[in-house]
C-alpha cells in the first residue's frame, strides 16, 4: 500500500536524510529573522520594559513542548494500531526534544518571573502543568531506555504516551482548579496587553523556527535510531556512510 511505503525504516531513512538539512537551514533563517525583528525592530514594552523580549524564546518553546507530546501520542496510536516499526522510533526521537523544550520553557519563565513577579517560581496553574509535562517526558524516556527488548520498549512507551496524553488535559484542569481554589490568580499570562503587530510577527517567526528545528532534529535523531535498530540488515550494511565508516575503522 502506497500510504505505508515510508513506514518501512528502509524507505524512510533516505527521505529523512533529504528532509532534515532543508528544515534545519529554513529553521536557522527564520530564527535569525525572528531574533532580528524581536530584538532590533520591536519596541520595548510600556509596562514590562525590555524584559518582555523573553517571549520570543519562551512562548514558541512552551508551545512546542505541548505540541510534541501530542505528536508522540499520535505516533504511538499509529504504532499500536498498525504495528509499524517506524512509529516507535519517531516517538522516541521526539521525546528528548520535548523534554528539552519543556525545561527551556520553565527556565526562561523563571528568568522572566524574577523581574516581573519578584520570584523565580510561583505555583501557578500553567507553571505547574508544564512541570508535570516535563515529568511525563522524563518518565517516557526512563521507561523506554530501561527496557532492552526493542519491541517491548516501543510498545510500552506507546502505552505510556497515550495514557499520558489522555491525562494531560485532566491534569491541566485539575491544577487550574486547585490554584483558583487556594489563591486568586494574582499574575497570569492571559492578562498580557494586546500585542503590537511587530511583536506578534517576531513571535510567529520564532515559533515557526522552533517548529522546524524540532522537526529537523527529530528526523536527524530518527536516522541514528534506524541505523542502530537495523544494523543487522543488509541495506544498512550497503549504505555508503556505513561502508565509509567501516573502511575508516579498518584502516586505523
Amino acid at each position: 500500500m502506497k500510504l505505508f511505503h515510508y513506514a518501512a525504516p528502509q524507505h524512510f531513512y533516505p527521505l529523512a536524510g533529504r528532509l532534515w538539512p532543508a528544515l534545519a537551514v529554513l529553521a536557522t533563517a527564520l530564527a535569525l529573522a525572528g531574533l532580528w525583528v524581536g530584538f532590533m525592530v520591536a519596541p520595548s514594552d510600556a509596562q514590562q520594559g525590555q524584559a518582555y523580549r523573553i517571549i520570543y524564546i519562551h512562548v514558541p518553546v512552551s508551545w512546542l513542548a505541548m505540541i510534541i507530546y501530542l505528536a508522540m501520542a499520535f505516533w504511538s496510536v499509529l504504532g499500536l494500531v498498525f504495528n509499524t516499526r517506524l512509529s516507535g522510533l519517531m516517538t522516541r526521537a521526539l521525546a528528548p526534544t520535548g523534554a528539552l523544550l519543556a525545561f527551556l520553557s520553565l527556565w526562561t519563565g523563571a528568568l522572566w518571573g524574577k523581574p516581573m513577579w519578584g520570584t523565580y517560581w510561583v505555583w501557578d496553574a500553567r507553571l505547574t502543568s508544564m512541570l508535570i509535562l516535563l515529568f511525563l517526558y522524563l518518565g517516557y524516556i526512563a521507561l523506554t531506555s530501561a527496557i532492552e527488548d526493542p519491541r517491548r520498549s516501543d510498545r510500552a512507551g506507546a502505552l505510556v504516551a497515550v495514557v499520558g496524553a489522555v491525562n494531560v488535559p485532566i491534569i491541566y484542569f485539575s491544577v487550574q482548579w486547585w490554584n483558583t481554589l487556594h489563591q486568586g490568580a494574582s499574575v497570569s499570562f492571559t492578562q498580557s496587553p494586546r500585542m503590537a503587530s511587530v511583536m506578534l510577527t517576531g513571535m510567529l517567526l520564532m515559533s515557526l523556527a522552533v517548529w522546524l528545528y524540532a522537526a529537523a532534529i527529530a528526523l536527524w535523531r530518527v536516522r541514528s535510531l534506524i541505523l542502530v535498530r537495523e544494523s543487522h540488515a543488509l541495506w544498512v550494511q550497503l549504505l555508503p556512510e556505513v561502508q565509509a565508516h567501516r573502511t575508516l575503522r579498518g584502516a586505523t
Binding site: 508535570i132 517491548r152 481554589l181
Partner: protein, 230 residues
C-alpha cells in the same frame, strides 16, 4: 472442547479474587508493611513541622493524602511481580477468561488488602491532626473513592515495569504525574468541607475519575502484561 467445561468469566474472577486474598492473608508482613508505612509517614510530619495545632489542622488532609498515595505506590510492587516469577501470570494470560477480567479481580483483591486499611485508619490519624468530625468523614470518603483510582492507575505502571531493572524508581517516575488529579480533588474536597463550602463537586469529579479508570485501566494493564510475557 465443550466436554472440558471451561469456567465462565465470573467463575474466573471469583477464583482469582479468592486466591489472591488467601495468598495475601498468609503473607501478612507484605500488606501490613504498607499500612505501617502510612502511619509512620503521618507521624513524621508533626515531628518535622512542630506541634502547633493550627498548622497541623491546615496541613493534615494534604499530609494524609500524600502518605496514602505513597503507601499505595509502595504496595504496587508485589501486584504482578510474584505471579510473574512463578509463572501463574502466564497461566492467567493463557486461560479462557479474558485477561482484563482476571486483572480486574487482582486489582480488587489488591485494593481490599492495601487500600481499604488506609481508608479505615485515616479518621484515626486525622484525629491526631485535630481535624473536625465532618472533615474526618470527608477525608475517609475521598480516600474510599480515591485509593481505588490510585490502584487502577498504578497497576498500569506496575505492569509496564514488570521485570525491568530498577522498576521501583521507574514506576514512581511514571505514576506520580498521573496521580496529580486524584490528589488535587481528594485534598480539595476536604479543604472545601473544612471551609464550609461542601465538597460535593470534588467528590463527583473523583467518582468520574474512578469510573473512567475502572473502565479503561484493566485493558491497558492487560496489554502491558502481555508485552511483559512475550
Amino acid at each position: 472442547m465443550n466436554a472440558l467445561a471451561l469456567p465462565s468469566p465470573w467463575q474466573a474472577i471469583s477464583g482469582v479474587l479468592r486466591r489472591d486474598l488467601r495468598m495475601a492473608l498468609r503473607r501478612k508482613s507484605e500488606w501490613l508493611g504498607a499500612v505501617f508505612f502510612f502511619v509512620l509517614v503521618a507521624a513524621l510530619f508533626p515531628l518535622a513541622i512542630g506541634p502547633e495545632p493550627d498548622t497541623l489542622r491546615l496541613i493534615g488532609p494534604g499530609v494524609l493524602w500524600v502518605a496514602a498515595l505513597l503507601a499505595s505506590m509502595l504496595s504496587l510492587g508485589r501486584l504482578f511481580e510474584a505471579d510473574h516469577q512463578d509463572g501463574s501470570l502466564e497461566q492467567l494470560a493463557l486461560s479462557a477468561a479474558p485477561l482484563s477480567w482476571s486483572i480486574s479481580a487482582k486489582l480488587l483483591a489488591h485494593w481490599l488488602i492495601s487500600g481499604l486499611p488506609l481508608v479505615l485508619l485515616s479518621p484515626l490519624l486525622g484525629l491526631q491532626f485535630g481535624l473536625a468530625p465532618e472533615a474526618l468523614g470527608m477525608l475517609a470518603l475521598t480516600l474510599l473513592i480515591g485509593t481505588p483510582v490510585l490502584s487502577l492507575l498504578g497497576a498500569i505502571g506496575a505492569a509496564l515495569t514488570l521485570g525491568v531493572r530498577g522498576g521501583g524508581v521507574l514506576q514512581s517516575l511514571l505514576l506520580l504525574p498521573l496521580y496529580v488529579p486524584v490528589l488535587v480533588f481528594g485534598t480539595g474536597a476536604v479543604d472545601a468541607q473544612m471551609r464550609g463550602l461542601g465538597g460535593q463537586a470534588h467528590v463527583s469529579v473523583l467518582l468520574a475519575l474512578l469510573l473512567a479508570t475502572a473502565a479503561l485501566s484493566p485493558w491497558a494493564c492487560a496489554a502491558a502484561v502481555r508485552l511483559a510475557l512475550e
